[in-house]
């Protein structure tokens, strides 16, 4: 990756994080899980996915399915910064005059399928991947799941079936941010050794730093055309990445901040120093 490209992608990621902070004001959002997958989302839309903004229903397009739907602020921010969505739409967050709410839905141009209920899109994406395959089309189908989402048996069920049908055009990216809601995954339902689990299910597995664009590019560009396995990329990430006050904290899951707090967080984003004083309560259940 050239330095120019890396710098450009970093600048896009910074803007996406600004949007996420903005969406945490008012009704709030799942800020931590959104911040952890920013680099993944930015790389996919800016560099990897072959999607023509002017022809969103082109049957030869690549597909992105956001299975961990509660990180949709990262998607909204990325869609804005890559030109899929007008920035004005973000002002409609949680308003009844639009469909910019806490989970993805197809009223947002560019969103392929709704999510929110965890463990659904690995199977939906498998259906799409199967159809692309039997039509001999080269579309790539990518699913982003959470790590807590891997508790759902339907994820593993879909992998069994997808591997049975050798859906090598399907790639599952796990946003491995170590948390599910307000608990560390390893303290509740331990997932490690996670790569071994996916391998045992027949997948081709790579594990990368999910905040490093070079690693993301390498992982995605090295997916072979000729293998017969579902590709899994375990992306190690930090929940709340970019905002030292909320990074890797179990209590910063769903957050609704004041404008003043958002300003302080924005300052953290640019200085990378833990300076914000956050008094807004964190909601334990949403």
């Amino acid at each position: 990756m050239t330095n120019d490209k890396a710098a450009y992608l970093k600048s896009v990621a910074l803007k996406v994080r600004e949007h996420i902070i903005g969406l945490s004001v008012g009704g709030g959002c799942f800020i931590g899980a959104s911040l952890s997958c920013v680099e993944l989302m930015v790389y996919l839309y800016a560099e990897f996915l072959n999607i023509d903004k002017g022809d969103l229903s082109n049957p030869e397009r690549d597909y992105l399915f956001l299975s961990k739907g509660h990180d949709v602020p990262a998607l909204y921010g990325t869609l804005v910064e890559t030109g899929f969505m007008p920035v004005e739409k973000l002002a409609n967050h949680l308003r009844s005059n639009d469909s910019v709410y806490w989970h993805p839905n197809t009223n947002i141009p560019g969103v392929e399928f709704h999510s929110g209920s965890l463990g659904h899109l690995p199977s939906v994406a498998s259906g799409v991947a199967y159809d692309c395959k039997i039509r001999n089309q080269k579309n790539r189908v990518v699913v982003i799941t959470g790590d807590g989402e891997l508790n759902e048996g339907s994820v593993w069920e879909a992998l069994l079936v997808a591997n049975a049908y050798q859906l090598n055009n399907l790639t599952l990216i796990v946003d491995r941010n170590q948390f599910q809601a307000n608990i560390r995954t390893e303290d509740l339902i331990p997932l490690e050794p996670l790569a071994d689990k996916f391998k045992a299910f027949g997948c081709r597995v790579t594990r990368i730093d999910g905040h490093d664009f070079v690693s993301i590019e390498k992982a995605l560009s090295s997916i072979p055309d000729t293998n017969d396995k579902v590709n899994v990329i375990i992306a190690d990430t930090i929940r709340g990445k970019g905002l030292p006050s909320i990074e890797a904290r179990a209590d910063r899951w769903f957050c609704a901040f004041t404008s003043d707090e958002a300003g302080q967080l924005s300052n953290e984003l640019h200085t990378n120093k833990k300076t914000a004083v956050l008094e807004s309560e964190t909601l334990i259940v949403r």
Binding site: P59, T106, E112, F113, H114, S117, H120, L121, P122, S123, V124, A125, S126, G127, V128, A129, Y130, D131, C132, I134, S154, E157, A158, L160, V161, A164, Y165
Partner: protein
């Protein structure tokens, strides 16, 4: 023509159709050879089958999916509701051995709440053919529409030759001024024979094969309420959420009141046994249906003209 022959014929004529099963091949034994990669067996994975069906439908396909009715409608319920219902995709659900047809399997295999569950999903249409003849007359319209649909499959041969199918319209076999029997699915044949027994007692008896439970034929229900003194709903389903409920909702919505006597399963699962014994034990043979209706109808003064 049977279910599978019709399915092969329809799928060969329409590239959009993909036939799927969650390792229940009773209805689709010859499909793999006929359709090649347009047949997908996902193994014992009702949820994944439905999720994949939604994905295939996103690509312009019309998946016709097969599983035992209880596992299809209950194990995969949230996938049907969330992936098929919310997206309003043309996924066609074929539920095998619903209701009493699970005979000796026991309560795990009894789909007696499937109508209630499926009609509770916005956009979902619900159909229950009376027998194989009815089934093959109904399926072309069901598979040809763009709506998600649940079919309570009954492919048993019947004795009755049914009329052509019109979606949303019941098949009115006969009208009667005393009693009208409203029935769907497998119990149609027994209702038909119960009607004959009741007529031998000098009663004027109507019979309606509902065929479509959602959207139900409201006019057929209203007309029978206006024309008969007593309506009987007959179903191998819990008496909550099925035809009895549909009749009640229809009457309420149209500000009508009528006597309605339900023959259904109440607040329990039915006795598992060979089908003939189930019908005997649960009181759904033609003779027992007629007997229960006569007992009700002959209650002093309840249904008299006076």
């Amino acid at each position: 023509m049977n279910y599978e022959a019709l399915l092969i014929q329809t799928a060969l004529a329409d590239e959009r159709i993909i036939v799927m099963t969650a390792e229940n091949r009773a209805l689709v034994k010859n499909i793999p050879a006929a359709l090649g990669n347009r047949f997908i067996d996902t193994g014992i994975t009702e949820q994944t089958m439905i999720g994949m069906a939604a994905g295939l439908a996103l690509r312009g396909r019309i998946p016709i999916v097969h599983a035992l009715a209880p596992f299809l409608t209950m194990r995969a319920f949230e996938f049907i509701r969330t992936d098929v219902g919310i997206a309003n995709l043309p996924v066609k659900l074929s539920g095998y051995i619903p209701g009493f047809l699970s005979d000796g399997n026991g309560p795990t295999h009894q789909a007696i709440e499937d109508i209630a569950l499926m009609r509770g999903i916005p956009n979902m249409e619900v159909f229950a053919p009376a027998d194989e003849d009815d089934l093959v007359k109904m399926l072309p319209a069901i598979w040809g529409s763009n709506a998600p649909a649940y079919v309570r499959v009954n492919h048993k041969a019947g004795t009755f030759i049914h009329a052509a199918f019109e979606p949303g319209k019941a098949e009115v076999i006969a009208t009667g001024s005393d009693i009208t029997l409203l029935v769907y699915g497998f119990l149609f044949d027994n209702a038909l024979h119960a009607k004959e027994i009741l007529e031998q007692q000098g009663l004027s008896v109507g019979l309606i094969n509902m065929r479509t439970l959602k959207p139900a034929d409201e006019q057929a229900i209203i007309q029978s309420a206006l024309n008969s003194r007593l309506l009987i709903s007959i179903e191998d389903h819990l008496n909550s959420g099925g035809l009895y409920t549909i009749i009640a909702e229809t009457l309420l919505r149209n500000r009508l009141s009528a006597h309605v006597f339900p023959l259904a399963i109440h607040e329990r699962w039915f006795k598992p046994a060979l089908l003939a014994e189930v019908l005997e034990f649960e009181g759904f043979t033609p003779e027992k249906i007629a007997e229960k209706i006569l007992n009700e109808f002959q209650q002093p003064k309840k249904y008299s003209n006076a």
